[in-house]
Every structure is written in structure tokens, then in C-alpha cells.
């Protein structure tokens, strides 16, 4: 199945990467599976989203079809064909 991924402009700029990509995944693949592909294809983008333990950085927000995806249940939920995944910075900083 194909999944659409859009990255916030600040992330694309920081990681010298694209604003959006299409990713082909196995059926019932999850967000961590998707992020593994992102990290392999775009290492700078991947490491900006997750640290080396695989944990999503605390000030990065993921959305699937407009719904926030945080916590174990959301990460374990299978994606569906055509899903739209958004990677955004949290409203934080100082």
C-alpha cells in the first residue's frame, strides 16, 4: 500500500529534505514501520523525528489523517492505504 507523508517546512529545511514523499509499505504496516523507511531513505529527517532508541522526539507531533498519533496504541495501529501522515513541530520552545 502507498502512504503519503508530509513534513513541516522547518523540518525539510533543517534536514535538507523534501516537503513530502510517497512510501510503499506492506499491508498492516504501522507508524514505526513507516518511520523506519523514512530514516533509511532520508537519514537526517529520520533522526530529526526519532532518537537512536526509536523514541519519537518529545516536541515532534505525528498526525494520521488529521488525528494526533501519540502513545503506544496509536503507534501500533495499522496504517491504511492512502493514509496521510503529517510530521509537525509541537507548539513549544522558548
Amino acid at each position: 500500500m502507498d502512504v503519503h507523508v508530509r513534513f513541516h517546512g522547518a523540518l525539510a529545511q533543517r534536514a535538507d529534505g523534501p516537503n513530502r514523499i510517497e512510501v510503499a509499505l506492506e499491508d498492516r504496516a504501522t507508524l514505526p514501520d513507516l518511520l523506519d523507511v523514512v530514516a533509511e531513505r532520508l537519514p537526517r529527517v529520520g533522526r530529526s523525528i526519532r532518537d537512536e532508541t526509536g523514541t519519537v522526539r518529545p516536541h515532534v507531533h505525528l498526525f494520521v489523517d488529521g488525528e494526533p498519533a501519540r502513545g503506544e496504541a496509536a503507534l501500533a495501529r495499522p496504517l491504511h492505504p492512502g493514509a496521510e501522515v503529517l510530521v509537525l513541530p509541537a507548539v513549544s520552545g522558548g
Binding site: A10, L11, R14, A15, D16, P43, R44, R47, S48, I49, D51, E52, T53, T55, R57, H59, V60, P89, A90, S92, G93, G94
Partner: protein, 362 residues
């Protein structure tokens, strides 16, 4: 005398200042990596064109260690992270707090200190680093606690001639020494007085803010502790208090003169507020390893001044007549081209300064 380059790492990006021979007039350029916290800077002068390195982190997108081989014209953020905690540690890098190019005899070797507290060694001029397992596996590590700046290894002092010896320091944890090339490490904090641990204090837990190695005798060290300025004449085996003559013995940085034995600089602040005593902006210099101290304030602001200086925000350059540089928490950067006698202002109104490094460049 050639030009001088000064790296100024701040909480919101890096600035570069460059001066011709007189080190009195500076051209300031920046920010580079705007908005990122630059927690460590280094100038590796062992290369024909010095390599600039900087480490830090972004609030959203995490840590980085980047380098420039054209004096800041462009920055290389490698695809593969230079500093990565091995999977079995279960840890993730928060930031790099220290980058230290080793001696010319150890070409290519660069050291890094990180948060969480760990020591890293590179043999390829900082392109990639490997965790120093001997220190990571030290049995004291579970007892190391974060200070105000985080649980970080912030001081790295390779021995200039003996590959087997090295001192590091962390907050908290204290000074640790190896005498077997990093295989084993032992705490080395004897003589430091503390009022924040029970008697007798454990061998770890000391809030060492910075340690500097003497230019003339590598067994002589100076330390700025959480409270107290100390000196060791035996490579850190024992520490003696030498801060009694200072207006305050609290502070963060201590810097050794690059050539002259016994000369070092501190920036005292009060224990209560971490600001200069009586609101007087002043660097203090010793020329006799702490037996006496002289105020060095000519050219510094004379009006009341209430900004402190963080541990990595003071440095010297490598000119024969050493330059001394100080960056403050209110974004001032001051420079002395005559070893602290007179000061000029390099920059003002920058974000708070976390790290400065200076070197002669051709």
C-alpha cells in the same frame, strides 16, 4: 600576526567574529544555525585550513554535531550521526557539551563530552565518534546526577605526552582520571569541600564546573568548583583551595594561559545569585597558580553589571601574547589582546553565550 577567528555559540545560534592582527576591531557574522542551542564549539588548528566544529541541539529536531572546512562559509551536517549511543546502552544523545581536538602528535583524534554524561573518541577529525566504554561502565555512573545545566561531561583534558592518562569532569560526578588509556577510571576529588553532601562525602557527586590544565606542567590543574577555586599539583590526586582572595569563590569557567605556567582566569559570581559580586564586571587572573589574584576590568562595563558567564564561555587564543575572550549571559562578548590587561567589546545584544573558542588563522 595573522587573523584571529572567534566562535561564539549562543542559545540561539552561532556567530563568528574575525579580527586582523590587532584583535581590537572585529567583524561579526551570524547567526549560523539560527535558533539552535550551540552548546560546544571547537577550532581544530591541526589542519592547513582549520576545521570548525559545533555541537548543540534544536528544541524540536534534536542534537547535531556539524563541521566546516571553509571557516564557516558552509556547514556539513553528515547523514550519519557522528555521536550515537550504542543500542545496548538504551540511551539517547541530548547534546554535545564539549569538543576537544587532541594534540598534533595524535592527528585526527578529537574528543567529545555529552549529555547524558559520556566521553567519546574520534579518530577521523570528528567525522565519527565511539563511546569510551571504560568510563560508561564505571560503577559510579548510576550515582551521577544532573546539575543545573544537565547531566553532562563538560571537561576533557588529554595528557599532552602520556597516552595513558586523561582527566575528565562532569556535573555532577566530579573529576575522574584514567591512567590506563581509558580502560578504567577513578574519581579524583580529594580535598574538595562540599556543603551539599553528608560527612564523609562519597567519592562521587562533586559539582565540578570546570578544570583547566597548566601550560607548563601537565600535572598542575586549576578547578572552578560549585563553591571554591582549587588547584592540584599532582594531576588531580589532591585539591587545595586557592579561592580565598577572590571576591567570590563561586563561578563556572576557569581557563589556563596557553603558554605561561601558573596563569589562569576565572569570572567570579556570587553563590546566591550567580551574578558578579557588587555588580562589578571583572575577570580575575592569577599568575602564581592561585596564590594571588588580580582584577582585570579595564575596558569592561563600569555600570552595574548583573550577567554571569557560563562554564564554556571563556577561552584564550594561541597567539604568543595570548588573547582572552569572555561571553556573558546577556549576550556581550569581550576580548583582551594583552592577556587580560585591557578589554574591548566584540559584540553586544547577542543571545546568552554558551561557548566561545578562538584561534589564530592564516
Amino acid at each position: 600576526m595573522g587573523d584571529t577567528l572567534l566562535m561564539i555559540g549562543t542559545r540561539k545560534g552561532l556567530w563568528l567574529a574575525r579580527s586582523n592582527g590587532d584583535r581590537a576591531r572585529w567583524e561579526v557574522d551570524g547567526p549560523h544555525l539560527p535558533g539552535e542551542e550551540i552548546t560546544a564549539t571547537a577550532i581544530d588548528t591541526r589542519r592547513s585550513t582549520p576545521r570548525l566544529l559545533m555541537g548543540g541541539f534544536g528544541w524540536h529536531w534534536g542534537p547535531f554535531l556539524v563541521r566546516s572546512d571553509d571557516l564557516g562559509g558552509t556547514w556539513n551536517d553528515p547523514e550519519q550521526r557522528p555521536v550515537v549511543f550504542p543500542e545496548d546502552t538504551g540511551e539517547a544523545l541530548h547534546t554535545v557539551w564539549q569538543i576537544v581536538p587532541d594534540t598534533s602528535e595524535r592527528d585526527g583524534v578529537v574528543w567529545a563530552g555529552s549529555e547524558p554524561s559520556a566521553l567519546w573518541r574520534s579518530e577521523d577529525h570528528g567525522a565519527s565518534f565511539e563511546l569510551v566504554r571504560g568510563l560508561w561502565d564505571n560503577p559510579d555512573r548510576p550515582h551521577w546526577e544532573p546539575g543545573g545545566g544537565g547531566k553532562a561531561l563538560h571537561t576533557i583534558l588529554p595528557h599532552p605526552t602520556d597516552d595513558h592518562r586523561m582527566n575528565v569532569a562532569m556535573s555532577t560526578g566530579g573529576v575522574y582520571r584514567t591512567q590506563d588509556g581509558g580502560e578504567t577510571w577513578a574519581p579524583s576529588n580529594h580535598g574538595i569541600a562540599v556543603d551539599y553532601m553528608p560527612e564523609p562525602p562519597p567519592p562521587y557527586g562533586y559539582c565540578v564546573h570546570r578544570v583547566a590544565r597548566d601550560a607548563g606542567d601537565p600535572t598542575h590543574l586549576m578547578m572552578q568548583h560549585h563553591g571554591g577555586v582549587y588547584r592540584s599539583d599532582d594531576d588531580g590526586a589532591y585539591w587545595s583551595d586557592v579561592g580565598a582572595q577572590l571576591p567570590a569563590d563561586f563561578g563556572f569557567p576557569v581557563v589556563a594561559h596557553p603558554h605561561r605556567s601558573g596563569t589562569a582566569y576565572v569570572f567570579p559570581v556570587t553563590y546566591e545569585s550567580r551574578t558578579p559580586p557588587q555588580g562589578r564586571c571583572a575577570i580575575y587572573r592569577t599568575e602564581d597558580a592561585g596564590a594571588s589574584w588580580q582584577e582585570c576590568a579595564k575596558g569592561l562595563p563600569e555600570e552595574p553589571y548583573h550577567a554571569g558567564v557560563l562554564r564554556d564561555a571563556m577561552c584564550t587564543d594561541d597567539h604568543d601574547t595570548a588573547g582572552v575572550y569572555v561571553g556573558t549571559r546577556d549576550g556581550h562578548v569581550f576580548a583582551s589582546s594583552d592577556e587580560g590587561e585591557h578589554w574591548t567589546t566584540v559584540a553586544r545584544h547577542l543571545p546568552d553565550v554558551l561557548s566561545v573558542r578562538a584561534a589564530a588563522i592564516s
